[in-house]
């Protein structure tokens, strides 16, 4: 997506923005110290599932908003996959108009309370902030985004984006994760009759089954879905498009186009000996049991979970961090990250790594499991691992790990969670063989996120990218909605 600088300039030159800029000199603004969001104490929070970050106060938000220099060419926006008008909403905060701040934010981002929590701002908008150039910490854009969304939600007066006159054109969204929710919202705004189909019994996709309560409370998800319902989006759960009804069935029922945002749900395993022993889980299973099925409340809830004493989580991404911090909260004595590279190569957000360390997670970097050993009941009891060292950079630019000869050792473990990534669900390929897919099972799309082999099918998020972030999925959803609109208006 390209940034509309002309619009932004117009906004920026409005009278109130000029006045606001003149209130304080840049020098004064630069004196401000970046806000630090308060967090629950590590020793308490690693025993419960409440949210770790507590948000910022109104005073803190006002001070932080003041730090933003309202640059003539705001580079931060180019770092945002959905091009949020960042200075636009921050200056509304500084002015004290929280209602407008939310309106500006939501004009480009349908799920700000979620992005304010799970987006990697440090590598997107904040890294582009002018403060970095002078060696100062950037404006806390993510914190302000969260503050704006939370303030609006807690006020009980949510602004619902304007919806165009109904055009009675039916469109189907497959999957209710971030890509699907965004596309649904954008199409509803344009007046389409949008139905969102979800395979699970709850809506939100990875936001509800994958991301734990302590990072993203489910209440927030619920409110976002209510908003979309108010915009006219119909939600259908327990429905697998392609199975419960075929794409063609739905076409016959009047659906003119489809957006597939079915994600990358298939967990990867390492295929090493002993990996099918009991109590070796995929991150997906482990997190789904806890987050979606509330197994941490067993037996009040019917779904069980095994609470290990020595839990090894394999991988170094956000999912691995979510899993290991969950294990700690379930009462593990040792909750360990086993990662084959070093911390510098870890794909997880710095904040997650930092939080994990505070909570007492052990990091066994440059270690890799090679075999699991079970007891007579088939339960894992030991992990055979080896030490690694870093060699030459690979295709991703990260240094390739290689095993150190003779470094194998045994470690006692009673639960192992494999969090080394996911691949697209093969179901779409099974039911739509005419769709061109890559060798990795992702759907091949053009710039408009439209299938190159079936023009009525659009796709975005992990089913196209293979495994990326919430905000990139949302960016895809916006592009897809635009090109679906184009396609449907020219049918």
């Amino acid at each position: 997506m390209s940034v509309n600088y002309k619009e932004l300039k117009k906004d920026r030159s409005s009278e109130w923005r000029q006045e606001l800029r003149n209130l304080l000199s840049a020098k004064e603004r630069l004196k401000g110290v970046r806000v630090k969001m308060s967090e629950s104490s590590p020793d308490e929070r690693n025993k419960n599932f409440f949210e770790v970050n507590n948000g910022i106060t109104a005073e803190e938000a006002a001070l932080e908003a003041r730090r933003c220099l309202d640059c003539p060419t705001p580079t931060c926006i180019s770092g945002c996959p959905v091009n949020i008008n960042i200075p636009g909403f921050i200056k509304e905060i500084e002015k004290g108009d929280m209602k407008n701040a939310a309106i500006v934010l939501k004009s480009t981002n349908a799920l700000p309370a979620i992005c304010g929590r799970v987006c990697p701002q440090e590598t997107q908008c904040e890294i582009k902030c002018i403060y970095n150039k002078i060696g100062e910490p950037p404006v806390a854009i993510g914190n302000l985004e969260r503050y704006t969304a939370d303030t609006e939600r807690l006020s009980g007066e949510m602004s619902i984006p304007e919806v165009a006159e109904p055009n009675n054109i039916k469109v189907a969204i497959v999957g209710s994760g971030p890509a699907g929710l965004t596309t649904a919202g954008e199409l509803a705004k344009l007046g389409y009759d949008v139905t969102l189909f979800e395979a699970l019994h709850e809506f939100g996709g990875v936001l509800v089954y994958g991301i734990p309560e302590f990072r993203l409370p489910k209440e927030i998800m619920r409110v976002e879905i209510e908003n979309l319902e108010e915009m006219g989006v119909k939600f259908v759960n327990n429905f697998i498009v392609g199975r419960t009804a075929s794409f063609d069935d739905l076409k016959e029922e009047g659906f003119k186009a489809f957006f597939i945002g079915s994600g990358a749900g298939l967990p990867k395993f390492m295929n090493i000996p002993g990996e099918n022993l009991i109590n070796i889980f995929s991150s997906n299973e482990y997190l789904t049991r806890v987050n979606l099925m509330k197994a941490f409340k067993f037996p009040e809830y019917d779904t069980p979970i095994v609470k290990g004493k020595n839990v090894a989580v394999i991988g170094g991404g956000n999912t691995a961090m979510d899993s290991v911090r969950t294990a700690k909260r379930l009462g593990a004595d040792r909750a360990m990250i086993i990662y084959r590279r070093s911390e510098a190569e870890m794909p997880a957000r710095d904040e997650e790594i930092h939080h994990a360390k505070e909570e007492g997670i052990e990091f066994l970097n440059l270690n890799n499991p090679i075999e699991y050993i079970g007891d007579e009941k088939g339960k894992v009891k030991q992990m055979k691992a080896q030490k690694m060292e870093l060699g030459e950079p690979d295709d991703s630019g990260r240094r390739r790990p290689r095993p150190m000869q003779g470094s194998e050792y045994l470690m006692d473990v009673d639960v192992v969670v494999v969090g080394i990534g996911t691949a697209p669900n093969p179901l779409i390929q099974q039911v739509l063989p005419e769709l061109e897919m890559t060798a990795w099972g992702t759907i091949v799309v053009n710039d408009g996120m439209q299938s190159v082999t079936r023009p009525d099918i659009f796709a975005g998020g992990d089913i196209v990218r293979g495994g990326a972030t919430v905000i990139l999925a949302m960016g895809d959803g916006k592009i897809a909605a635009e090109s679906m609109h184009n396609y449907l208006q020219n049918l």
């Binding site: 419960t244 967990p267 299973e285 037996p299 019917d302 069980p304 669900n425």
Partner: protein, 279 residues
């Protein structure tokens, strides 16, 4: 939405439920299953679709009371609603005309065998059904099977119905009597293991339909993984049917015991009556 329109107790621990699920009744094929969940706090469990009625828009599930969730299902009443049903899941049985088919079902495996046996008969095969269980009470669907099968043999461990003996005795009896082109077996993992060992000896292609622990049922969690021919497969999306000669039943058996301790706690709570029904 998923209303119980008919409930019939087939035996002491086995209940048949006919449930409104219009979409699934149309799209399901023999061998496929659904994931069901009862109540806000319920767990997701897989159940094979035993039958469906296109006109009435219903599916039939047959459930044996063995643990917490099946107990709740047993206690459900006509007119009640099942909170969540999703499907049809899994790959349909590859049904074609092969000649003579043995459908060997044990205990709770008899219910999922029913639609597959029926489909093989409808495809023009000679169908011999062998039903086996611990005792008479656990032999279900015998009359229903007789409606289309060319022959139905019953075996019980205690001899309370049919011939005293195991399912394998029945299978071997038929194999020795006539040419058999394929065996389909569903039942406890141990039973399928021994059927597979037997038919391997006679080199008869054998399908086993596996029922494992699942959470989502759509390929997401991997709880259902089994080793087939040396590689890991997901029962939910790669199965539920596999070449029985390649399935590692010993591993499957162990994995089925993953939550034995937790299940016991939960089930005892229910039996104590603290949470006897559907919330």
């Amino acid at each position: 939405m998923y209303k119980i329109v008919q409930r019939e107790v087939l035996s002491k621990d086995v209940v048949k439920l006919v449930i409104t699920a219009e979409r699934i009744s149309k799209s399901r094929k023999a061998g496929q299953f659904v994931i069901v969940k009862l109540g806000e706090k319920g767990e997701r469990i897989p159940l094979t679709i035993a039958d469906s009625d296109l006109e009435k828009g219903t599916i039939t599930l047959i459930i044996q009371r063995v643990g917490l969730t099946s107990h709740k299902f047993f206690n459900i009443k006509e007119g009640d609603e099942v909170t969540d049903i999703v499907g049809p899941l899994g790959l349909p049985t590859h049904v074609k005309k092969l000649g003579t088919i043995i459908a060997a079902g044990g205990g709770v495996g008899i219910a999922p065998l029913y639609p597959i046996a029926k489909a093989f008969k409808e495809a023009g095969n000679k169908l011999i059904v062998i039903l086996a269980a611990r005792n008479k009470d656990l032999i279900i669907l015998e009359d229903e099977m007789r409606e289309f099968a060319d022959e139905v043999l019953v075996y019980t461990d205690d001899g309370s119905a049919g011939t005293k003996g195991l399912v394998t005795s029945g299978v071997e009896h038929i194999i020795n009597r006539e040419n058999v082109d394929e065996v389909v077996t569903i039942g406890p993992a141990v039973m399928m293991k021994f059927v597979a060992l037997l038919t391997k000896k006679y080199n008869i292609h054998t399908l086993a339909s596996l029922n494992t622990i699942m959470v989502d049922g759509t390929g997401m969690c991997g709880a259902c993984r089994v080793t087939v021919g040396g590689t890991t497969k997901f029962v939910c999306v790669d199965g539920p049917e596999f070449n029985a000669h390649e399935v590692d039943f010993d591993e499957m058996l162990l994995r089925l015991g993953a939550y034995v301790e937790q299940e016991k706690i939960a089930y005892e709570n229910v039996l104590k009556g603290s949470d006897g029904g559907v919330e």
